[in-house]
Symmetry: C2
Subunit: 353 residues, 2 copies
């Protein structure tokens, strides 16, 4: 078991300060943004929506479901909460403008955990120009961070899941399997790795790195469909396929070999074939928040995208869905937030339960 990445600080706990004191600590840390017309402090914020529309999405992270305090600092959780929400905006082809954050926090959490969260949100938002414009605080028995993100389509049509057409290529931008491998490394009884390629995977489990810029770029390049890969490549490709009433055929050979994932598989399960575990992580692991998009054949793909499959029409009597090399997938197709099942636990899953 790795040591906590955040040593116990000596400062006050949340229950030892008033809500207004806590807010006074947080407010100066929050990032501003060019779309903010009225920031935090009133009953509501006011945000610009220059083309008369905004995109909006919400995601919640829950302690001991999506992260553990022993494994992730407040800063990590803040960066992750922002990143996975920013990915939802990118997946529409939009640019993020603003976030609001509802935070449930037990009284025994150090104030520095909460200020770390605010710094993490800021660190993830600043490069894309998004502001944190509001929030709410409540006590509770476990930490929960609910983020709502807003984005600007800049006059473009949103890129939906439902637009893939037979003949399109399927392309992916971002990481695949990194978060699942990082979690497996953290979960391994012999402790956290200290070799660089493996610690990088652990870092990517703590804080995914969605390719935010690739969303608007894909929209501009003519993407016909797009979604955020949050629950595993096959599961999310299946969603795109069903929404578009097509068959998506993934070619795992096109995903390429990944030395870091192979090294992680050897570290986690020295007696097993690493290829099987890597394949499980790449095709079934969630929470990397890459972008899966379809483009008309022959499109010059934006930087960061690589072709991972093709789109074809469903045959007579064939249901829309996802195949791997033309056959039914034989790896767990992602995890479910409630139900147990083969996809819900490591390896192949993506969150502590």
């Amino acid at each position: 078991m790795p040591a906590s990445p955040e040593p116990e600080p000596g400062g006050p706990l949340v229950r030892e300060v008033s809500e207004e004191q806590l807010l006074a600590e947080i407010f100066p840390l929050l990032p501003g943004g060019t779309a903010t017309l009225l920031g935090p402090g009133d009953d509501a914020a006011v945000v610009a929506a220059p083309d008369g529309r905004f995109v909006v999405s919400t995601d919640v992270l829950v302690e001991d479901r999506h992260f553990r305090r022993a494994w992730s600092t407040g800063h990590d959780v803040g960066r992750r909460a922002a990143a996975q929400n920013l990915a939802d905006v990118a997946a529409m082809g939009a640019r993020p403008t603003s976030l609001v954050v509802s935070l449930v926090v037990p009284g025994d959490v150090p104030v520095t955990w909460v200020t770390g969260l605010a710094r993490g949100l800021a660190e993830a938002c600043a490069p894309v120009g998004a502001a944190v414009v509001g929030g709410d605080l409540s006590g509770g028995d476990a930490i929960a961070v609910a983020v709502t993100v807003h984005g600007d389509l800049e006059g473009r049509a949103p890129v939906l899941r439902s637009g893939a057409r037979p003949g399109d290529v399927v392309a992916h931008a971002g990481n695949l399997g990194s978060s699942a491998a990082g979690l497996a490394l953290l979960s391994a009884a012999d402790g956290a790795p200290d070799a660089a390629p493996l610690t990088r995977l652990v870092d990517l489990h703590r804080v995914p790195e969605p390719p935010s810029e690739s969303g608007p770029a894909a929209a501009l390049a003519g993407a016909t469909a797009m979604l955020d890969v949050s629950d595993g490549l096959l599961r999310d490709a299946g969603r795109l396929a069903r929404a578009s009433s097509v068959v998506v055929d993934m070619d795992p050979a096109l995903l390429g070999a990944d030395a870091a994932l192979t090294a992680a598989a050897r570290a986690v399960a020295p007696d097993r074939d690493p290829g099987t575990l890597v394949r499980t992580w790449v095709l079934g692991g969630g929470e990397d928040h890459g972008l899966l998009a379809t483009f008309p054949a022959g499109t010059a793909l934006p930087p960061g995208f690589r072709v991972v499959g093709t789109v074809r029409a469903a045959g007579p009597g064939e249901a829309p869905g996802v195949l791997v090399s033309g056959a039914e997938p034989d790896v767990p197709a992602g995890w479910d937030h409630f139900a147990g099942g083969p996809g819900s636990l490591t390896p192949g899953g993506s969150a502590p339960r």
Copy 2:
């Protein structure tokens, strides 16, 4: 102790269905709205913002902090979560357009509790034309409902907390003390009341009834400042006063006698002077989500508003803040979400701890 308002149903529990099955149950229940350009089901929704701006606010309700499952149905919690968010939009003088909801729900919660929540959200949103356009679900050990609400200013300037000017009148629309009295009735050892004025107070604790229409009406009438009274009249009046750098002098005589609150005080504490308890509820009780606004003297107040005080400049060396009949208040000034204190527990407080 009153009986649970929702008998244990025989249907499945949340952990017995998949996330997609649960979403399939919820989606048809969610209200649509005229501003929705793209509803739930993709990575993000798209909402119209006709004047090129939107207002946004977020609030979270946590089980055993803000509600108890034994005292409130899912339907109650859905209505309450929507109502208190809609109140934040109204307090800016805006009209609500859309909500997104992050729901943390333990596996042992009946599916009917969750569908009840969706129905409650719909019931609160439909009359004002607001849609639920997205959401997220997660497991967890206690229910948490984080709602983010968006509104349309219809070309008007937002009404801030900071605009009150010396000479303005202070006016309130909505209920005062009802939620605190209802909670005190629920907390009383001898059980829930069955007489109509008292059950009405309990209902108003379970589901507040903010005067949503009064927000845009106040803006149109020329309100100089406004806020949602969520943490108690004095505490929120103090916020308005400090934001505006003025002194707000409340006249409790102008609040009027309330027969239902007096009856509740007699039922809760037969041996005490009911007037003291009523004053505590009215001036210190939170979560009624009325609107406190200031208007230039002589303004014809919109329906529902009644004058409750006046605004004057702070004297030399005097700090901005709230007074009652010219003197420092002697009742608890609302409750704090984390710290204990005289205002944080019943009577006078507003939430189970």
